[in-house]
Structure formats: structure tokens, C-alpha cells
């Protein structure tokens, strides 16, 4: 018994900086996680906009002028891509986190996800309409 106990188990270290490169599912997870950088960046952008707004008409007009430029376009396209990935990845996992039991059975995941997309579409259209886009 003692001999068996003295033989040493081997511990395989997990590579701390590159573990997520090992499997596609880990890469997709990291992609989802880094959306937070761009959500955060956009929140900062909104703060900047608020500041310009509070500084008066001229400051705001020049901010809006900046929005028409190519740098703003690139920034927004990147943020939009990550925001959309955040939205889809968030909606897709909602049925797992919040299962709804109706009677005996659970509401199918596809129904919950579908409802989210429907609400998202409605909210987006209303938001853009109220903002005077169309």
C-alpha cells in the first residue's frame, strides 16, 4: 500500500496565456468576452458626446461634424460588429439561464430566443424612428 502511495501523479499544467487557442469553442468564447472592450469604448464615446452637449451649441456642432468623418465610420463599424456579436451570443444562451416551465414542459429554447430577437427588432425600429431616422 505504501509503495502505491509513494508513486507520484503527474500534473499537466494548463498554459496560462494560450489555453484558448487550443479549441474553436474557446476562441468563440474569448471573442464574446472581448465584446466588452467595445461596449465599454462606446460608453466612453457617449460620455464624450454628453460632455460636448453640455458645453454648448458650438462644441456639439463640431462633435457632430466629427461624426461624419472616416475615423468615426471605422470606429462605429467595429463597435457595431462586436455589439451585434454580443447581442446574438447573449440571446442564444438566455433559455439556458432562464428556463420557463409552462405546465409540465419547458418552453422550447427556440421560442425564447425568437421572442428576444423579435423584441430587439421592435425596440431598434422604435428607437430609430423616435430619433427621426425615418
Amino acid at each position: 500500500m505504501e509503495d502505491q502511495m509513494s508513486s507520484k501523479p503527474y500534473i499537466r499544467e494548463v498554459p496560462r496565456y494560450s489555453w484558448f487557442l487550443r479549441q474553436p469553442r474557446y476562441m468563440r468564447y474569448m471573442l464574446r468576452e472581448v465584446t466588452c472592450i467595445f461596449i465599454g469604448a462606446y460608453a466612453v464615446f457617449l460620455l464624450v458626446a454628453l460632455r460636448r452637449l453640455s458645453e454648448g451649441r458650438e462644441a456639439w456642432e463640431s462633435f457632430v461634424q466629427m461624426l461624419t468623418g472616416p475615423a468615426s465610420l471605422v470606429f462605429h463599424l467595429i463597435v457595431l460588429a462586436f455589439a451585434l456579436y454580443h447581442t446574438t451570443s447573449w440571446f442564444n444562451v438566455t433559455p439556458k439561464a432562464m428556463p420557463i416551465q409552462a405546465g409540465e414542459d419547458f418552453v422550447p429554447g427556440a421560442v425564447i430566443v425568437g421572442a428576444h430577437y423579435a423584441v430587439w427588432l421592435a425596440v431598434s425600429v422604435v428607437l430609430l424612428f423616435l430619433a427621426g431616422v425615418f
Binding site: S7, K8, P9, Y10, I11, R12, V14, R16, W19, F20, R22, Q23, R25, Y26, Y29, E33, V93, P95, K96, A97, M98, P99, Q101, G103, E104, D105, F106
Partner: protein, 247 residues
């Protein structure tokens, strides 16, 4: 029935003689319908009797034969050779110490299973004379899914957070706690919360979801853990904002 020549590359480790594991290549004549476990058994029976690995039922209900097949956590009795091309790499289940060859040390997992109090803790003591518990089909369905766990530990091998933070209680153990929390006969949720609501409990989980992807019984531990997080958050606000409310 035809036979195919399959190359298996298996990680070997003899704790008495080796300082490090190494791969050993076997060339095995396999039937079309075989699984990796069949190939391993054939190796042990005809080529190399020193190869060590766990297995039992050969039908994906006992949870013994978990190992890494081409880097993916799988039950070797459920990994069909026909789904693989080229050399098949077989390694012991990730994130566990290697005891010998494909046998891992599972003590950490067993400890954590015990830790979450995986048994019914009735709200009130009930004598046999009082009769059985009654449960509706809906009440049963609420936790049934989480009873399907066969303790195969594939989820622990898939979970990167467990790999990086070994003190994480882990998917299967917390899902098991959730199974009992959701059972209408149970009254022990607070006792279990003391264990799974710790930092190394459910809060180490970042919802990677790999656990659910590899689970052979479709338990969906990722879902269970998110539900535990939501319940724990509601708990926290109740405890701190309405401390007069007793459970």
C-alpha cells in the same frame, strides 16, 4: 464486417519509472463499428497488457471511461472510430493529475461532490408512517434533467476555469446541488448555498459553456450554473435588503 488498420497514439505514464508522460504508437486492426474503448481493449488483450485505463459498462451510463480523444473530452465507449481520420490521439482526461497511463486521480472531484450535500434534506422530518412524498409530473420535470449526470467528469476536462483555478467546485458538483435545490421534496437549499455561493463555487464560472457541449447525457451544467447564479443574486439582495425575511 471489414477491418481497418487504425493508428492510436496513447499517452503513457508509469509513476514508478517515468518522470514525464510520453506517447506510444499502436497499430490496431479494428472492426468498422468499434469505439476507441474497443481498440484499447484489443491493445491490452493482444499487444500491450501494461496499458491501464478505466472502463466498465461500455454503454455510456457508468461514466468510467472518460478520456481525451484528439483533444476532446469523450467517453471512450462512445467515440466511434469511423468518425476519426488518421492517427487518433488518446490522453487521460484533462485537468486531472495522471495516476498511470490513462487513469487520472479523481479525488478532487469526489471531494467536491460530497461538499455540495448531494442528498435530500427534508424541510421537516417525516416518519415512514407518514407515507411517501407526493410529486407532480411538473415538479419532477423541474429537476429531472440534472439527475442524468453520470459523474464522468468530461465537463471538468472541458471547463477552462477549472483548468486555470483548481479550487473551482466545478460544473457537475454545482449542477448536482441544483438538482436537489430544484426538488420539491428538499429543504436544504440554504445549506448548499453555503458551499456553492462561495467565490470558488458558482462565481468562478464565466459561462464558457464547454461543459454542456461535451456532456454525454445532455445535463446542461452550464444552464444549471447560470440558474444558480441568478438564484444566488436574488438571495443576496433579499439577505441584504430584507434581512428580516427568514427562509
Amino acid at each position: 464486417m471489414s477491418r481497418r488498420q487504425i493508428e492510436l497514439e496513447v499517452l503513457r505514464y508509469n509513476p514508478e519509472t517515468d518522470t514525464e508522460p510520453h506517447f506510444q504508437r499502436y497499430s490496431v486492426s479494428c472492426e468498422d463499428e468499434w469505439v476507441v474503448l474497443d481498440a484499447l481493449n484489443h491493445i491490452k488483450e493482444t499487444i500491450d497488457p501494461t496499458l491501464s485505463y478505466r472502463w466498465s459498462c461500455h454503454m455510456a451510463v457508468c461514466g468510467s471511461c472518460g478520456m481525451m480523444v484528439n483533444g476532446e473530452p469523450k467517453l471512450s465507449c462512445k467515440a466511434f472510430l469511423r468518425n476519426y481520420e488518421g492517427v487518433i490521439r488518446v490522453e487521460p482526461l484533462a485537468h486531472f493529475p495522471i495516476q498511470r497511463d490513462l487513469v487520472t486521480v479523481i479525488d478532487d472531484f469526489v471531494t467536491k461532490l460530497r461538499q455540495v450535500k448531494p442528498y435530500l434534506i427534508p424541510k421537516q422530518e417525516k416518519t415512514l408512517a407518514a407515507g411517501e412524498y407526493l410529486q407532480t409530473p411538473a415538479e419532477l420535470k423541474k429537476y429531472k434533467q440534472y439527475t442524468l449526470c453520470i459523474n464522468c467528469m468530461l465537463c471538468y476536462a472541458a471547463c477552462p476555469e477549472y483548468g486555470l483555478v483548481p479550487k473551482f467546485i466545478g460544473p457537475a458538483a454545482i449542477s448536482l446541488a441544483h438538482r436537489y435545490n430544484q426538488d420539491s421534496r428538499d429543504g436544504g437549499r440554504e445549506a448548499r448555498q453555503q458551499e456553492i455561493a462561495k467565490n470558488e463555487g458558482v462565481w468562478e464560472c464565466s459561462f464558457v459553456g464547454a461543459c454542456s457541449e461535451v456532456c454525454p447525457e445532455h445535463v446542461d451544467p452550464a444552464g444549471a450554473l447560470q440558474q444558480v447564479k441568478i438564484q444566488s443574486t436574488v438571495d443576496w439582495y433579499q439577505e441584504h435588503l430584507m434581512p428580516w425575511k427568514t427562509k
